[in-house]
Amino acid sequence: MTTDPEIQAARRSYIELSGRERARAVLDAGTFRELVGPFDRMESPHLPLQGIVPQSDDGVIVARGAIDGEPAIVISLESKFQGGGIGEVGGAKIAGALELTLRDRENGIPTRPVLLLETGGVRLQEGNYGLLAIAEIGAAIVALRPHVPVVSVISGMIGCYGGMSICAAGLSSRLIMTRQGRLQLNGSEVIEQEAGIAELDAADKPLIWSLTGGAQRVAAGFADVLAEDDIPEIAQAIRSAFEAGAPAENRSARVEFYRGLLAAVDPRARLTPEEFRELFRRASEGSPERNEQSPPERPESRQDRREQDEAPQSAQTARTRGRIWFERLSGREDSPAAGGVPSVLCADGELDGEAARFVSVVPNPANRFERAVRGEVGLDEGWAVAQVVREAVEDDKDSDRKRAIVAIVDVPSQAYGYREELMGIHLACAAAVDAYASARLAGHPVVALIVGNAISGAFLAHGMQASRLIAFEDDDVTVQVMSKPSAARITRRTIEQLNEAAEKVPGAAYDVRSFARLGALHELLPGIDAGSPGAEDLAAVTRSVKAAIEDARKGPRDLSSRLASEAAGAGRAASIEVRRRLADQWKG
């Protein structure tokens, strides 16, 4: 045995372990048993079609075992394969394992779920397969949390990004981080691509770590425990998290707290990470002082400059599809702002006798956060959506017949920016995911009507937790993970190569007909004039949404209908096969 402290330290490093070794290290000694392992050869069917070598476990290790003698499931992501990106198979392993954990819990088996997160988010080469899987992961976590804390670790060196920052990290009951780990929705390169280098310089690594690294995330309340890169310490932190039990209120459900915190922020100021920590600390002590200097809208000068530069439509005249369909379906043309956020429209109405709450996220050129003027789901939008959806759940909690909730989806993306990452855009999106999923689980039929763009984290937050998805069959309806220029930059391919890939792999395509092939849509609605609907269009859409609401009332409250469709049998065959094998191997 060596006594050299440096060698001893190196031997205890958790970060240096492979994904499989990490799973083994956090389970009780000798209890590791892998499910759907390498020799099952459930590799990505989509990567070889794009000339990319797959891996036999698709970069996700699912292991059963014990933690403190209790049955456990550990899901560990291998960052060295495709940056830990979530494709169809790996995503189905994670979601399927969580779904089986829920089944255990409902049967009185006290299985403990642990996620060892190390992921860049959706694997762009598989696009919508990953997006669908991540929505299913979020749905399973929200369903599991009332039974058992869902404990996650972000250790680095990759960190946890994209949809997984929302649906895995953001929704977890307890989150453990190391200093080396980062928690961030939008990759720094993507922020730079979308918002410019003045917004965030992707090459400025110290800045990025100070913004989204583990020390900052714990100090600013986005994670619970800061652990050293040390195997026993991380294993112990996981055990302690289960001993502590569920938090009084899950972070992604703290709507009032975070709305208060954001209200105290001056959106013009570029707060430093230290200043935001201080703001969080003060808010936690119960004095979220509203910043009286902070105007609800951006100052004139900036807006003038924007209008000169880009001549956008004004807030009131921007007749986007999201606004048009909100107005037509709800019958409200007075822009009823949700919780004082003008870019989130919310109203109660009815669809041919069926009571429904309509929610839409729309552009607001005067948005107080500059990065959310074009209808993006930003900080205020995510929390405001969460607020109005939770209000419906609260109002109907003693009612046998829960009102329907209709999300009208026309969202270009989540907001990309420095302030957004600093103040937890991933959690704002997670709050909306949590609210919609909780409403669905409480018995509200939730229908998402995709009338325009349904992109990325914005779609995860606003739409993807719906019981039923309906989309217009229309050339301007787009479902995808990232804009083409950004996707090209990240995957080091040309736009032409992206288009070629999309022809072979429907999950990588941007058009709604390709998305329909994945089987998640309840209905692809043809022949609707999406931009200037007439009475017949409105009647047809009303009929469809009402039928989807009725169908949702009859079915289970989870998302299983997405994999039960005829189209999914072919379009998501691997997602179904992975779940079948996990269930077969679960008991061992």
């Binding site: 390498p38 020799f39 070598v53 891996q55 036999s56 291998e78 060295k80 394969f81």
Partner: protein, 99 residues
């Protein structure tokens, strides 16, 4: 991506399997399982096209030394021959240690 296949005659049968490595940049993943007949098969999928001569040299030598009836699959992300040989040695370690 290029797919390369080889067959070799084998003398020794295997009783167990081994999984080594990750399809990470400069590295490779190996899956070794007992072959049902008395021969060895190799299937390589590699991102680095045009190195078939080098792969053949590596496996000619490997099977001359270890004439095992193995079904070997490789997912390669541009590993150098040195890394390939290291991973093969690790795989043999696992197979022989577990036997």
């Amino acid at each position: 991506m290029e797919t390369i296949m080889y067959e070799y005659a084998a003398e020794r049968s295997l009783t167990n399997s081994a999984h080594i490595g990750v399809a990470a940049s400069g590295d490779l993943e190996l899956l070794l399982e007992p072959s049902e007949n008395r021969s060895a098969s190799v299937k390589i999928r590699t991102t680095a096209n045009g190195f078939e001569d080098i792969w053949k040299a590596v496996f000619d030598r490997f099977f001359a030394r270890y004439p095992i009836a193995v079904k070997l699959e490789i997912n390669d992300f541009g590993a150098t021959p040195g890394v390939v040989n290291l991973r093969l040695a690790q795989a043999m370690e696992v197979l022989e240690h577990d036997n």
